[in-house]
């Protein structure tokens, strides 16, 4: 047809406009510097495509789950009857919810294991069977951290002290900035003192990549999961926490970042000082956000938008001191935190149960049954211990 359709018909172009990645950026930048005559049509195509994007509706996972339970109902009843059941009314859907939550769990694991984390090049051995926290040094040595909670400290001359007793000498120190990685599986916790003195507490199911020695002009680490950072003040050398979608830049501050691959949102909470958020999804015309103390920034991975609001920080950062604080928090959210913290699975018998809002303080004791019982009685629910690491709330 016409020349101007060419870019609309180019799948790679459309993909770049809707979901730009650094590779696509490079590709098209290259292309247009070699084809400057095409620029005008491409500009129009890009503009039109952006404007033609439909309003993204929020599809709640509860809704998807309810529909899926209806499908399962139909499947089950078709097994009992020779004739396939065709029409299941809406009200019958909530019946098979337990099954669905299981399948959702399976699916979440699928997602977790599939999730790309471009910066963290190594796989997460912690999520695949290995239950100890692990420190992987740039020279390839892997050190298992046996205890439930571990503390790692970088001392002078590349010395690494673990739990204040074991000392390891790192061969790659000060000269090059090769990457080390600390991997904390679900059910474990770890703290690390980085070479600049900054303290990072890693929550369960998280990993942190950091260099043996920071660059001259900046301090960069890569985070997947949740971390609480107490950054040593150094205005000449900003401290940057990179996640898959968001970069958080600090100078000397205390803040918490929650960027679990399975979550749809990234939450940053500032305790003191100042941080700047910039999404690194390479979307054009992005906005940087400056966060003030007691503010929460929620970055939505789907809409790529950030919302900030004032909150009580203790709700978000108390985990690193061994307790959780809730203020009208949904039970489903609390359950998710406990599942990660103790590496357990909690099934909610009824999805409506997950919407109960809870206020209070929960001390994260070693005895998880005790903690779950406290939660259950607060939520006026019944706790059933099904098997090792599997519970149900009714």
């Amino acid at each position: 047809m016409d020349d101007f359709l060419r870019y609309f018909e180019d799948k790679k172009f459309v993909r770049w406009v809707y979901n730009p990645t650094p590779e696509l950026n490079d590709y098209w930048q290259d292309w247009f510097s070699n084809h400057p005559e095409d620029k005008k049509e491409a500009e129009f195509a890009r503009l039109a495509l952006l404007q033609l994007q439909s309003q993204k509706e929020k599809v709640s996972s509860e809704k998807l789950t309810a529909i899926y339970s209806g499908i399962n109902e139909g499947i089950n009843s078709s097994r009992n009857k020779p004739r396939p059941a065709r029409y299941i009314p809406l009200f019958a859907r909530y019946a098979a919810v337990a099954l669905i939550f299981l399948s959702l769990g399976v699916f979440l694991t699928y997602q977790l294991t599939q999730n790309k984390y471009s910066e963290a090049k190594r796989p997460l051995p912690g999520s695949a069977g290995n239950t100890d926290a692990q420190l992987i040094l740039s020279d390839g040595r892997e050190i298992a951290l046996k205890s439930k909670e571990s503390i790692i400290e970088y001392g002078a001359k590349g010395k690494i002290v673990i739990n204040q007793k074991d000392t390891i000498t790192s061969t790659a120190h000060t000269v090059n900035s090769e990457m080390n990685q600390l991997i904390v599986p679900f059910g474990k916790n770890s703290s690390i003192k980085l070479p600049d003195g900054t303290l990072a507490h890693l929550n369960s199911g998280s990993s942190l990549m950091y260099p043996s020695a920071f660059d001259k002009d900046k301090r960069e680490v890569f985070l997947s999961g949740e971390g609480y950072f107490e950054v040593v003040h150094n205005p000449g050398k900003p401290f940057i926490v990179k996640t898959n979608d968001l970069n958080i830049t600090a100078i000397g501050t205390i803040f918490n970042v929650s960027a679990y691959p399975a979550d749809n949102i990234i939450e940053t909470v500032l305790v003191e000082g100042k941080v700047i958020l910039a999404d690194n999804s390479s979307l054009p015309f992005k906005k940087d956000y400056t966060l003030n103390p007691n503010e929460l920034a929620t970055f939505d991975r789907q809409s790529q938008k950030t919302i900030t609001k004032d909150i009580d920080v203790s709700q978000y950062v108390a985990w690193h001191e061994g307790y959780l604080n809730f203020q009208s928090t949904d039970l489903s959210r609390i359950v998710l935190r406990l599942e990660r913290y103790y590496n357990i699975k909690v099934i909610l018998s009824n999805p409506m149960l997950g919407t109960r809002s809870i206020t209070g303080k929960l001390v994260l004791k070693e005895d998880k049954d005790r903690v779950l019982e406290v939660l259950a009685s607060t939520a006026r629910a019944e706790l059933i211990h099904i098997e090792e690491n599997l519970y149900r709330l009714k």
């Binding site: 047809m1 439909s54 309003q55 509706e57 599939q114 999730n115 015309f285």
Partner: protein
Amino acid sequence: MTVKNTSDIPSLWGSFLSGDDKAFAGIYHSFAPDLLSYGKKLSSDNNLVSDALQEIFLDLYLKRNKSHIPVSNLKAYLFTSLKNTIRKKQIRNKRFENKEVNDKLLGEFNIEYSFQDQLITMEISEEKQARLQKAIITLSPGQKEIIYLKFEQGLEYPEIAQLMSITIESARKQLYRALLSLRHVLDNEVFLTLFTYFRKKI
């Protein structure tokens, strides 16, 4: 929750066909958000759309040994099934309510655009942008549906044609006319957007 990474759908589909029920959940969760999004544009009745989605997946499960859907065609197949099921339900509801069935109205594709405000900060004037948005709103429902299926859902012309019961040529022409009409709105505009975009990146 949507799955952007669809690269694993062929293996999910393969496991499902060979009897793995867990893979079925994966397939459901991979396609359900897109299907719901499309369904809502075909009918504003949320329960009807949910029921239709439920039915097509139940069908997919029960008929897995009989229907031989190649995975390359799976998305288009699900979209077509959803649309047909929604239509059938709409007609049945109308009959039930003793209203005259108006086929045209039933199929009306209803889309809301996000109209990203970030564009205003680019090198396109607010006035031009308003004109472009007005032109988009006045596109025919059919054109809007083709645009949605082609760009946002990434379907091919033959799939779109089948889904809309039109010829491939007609699908192509309608899209062409729609884009041309938008092009005319901005005919003399000098764009600097890409330039600005890349300069930011460097």
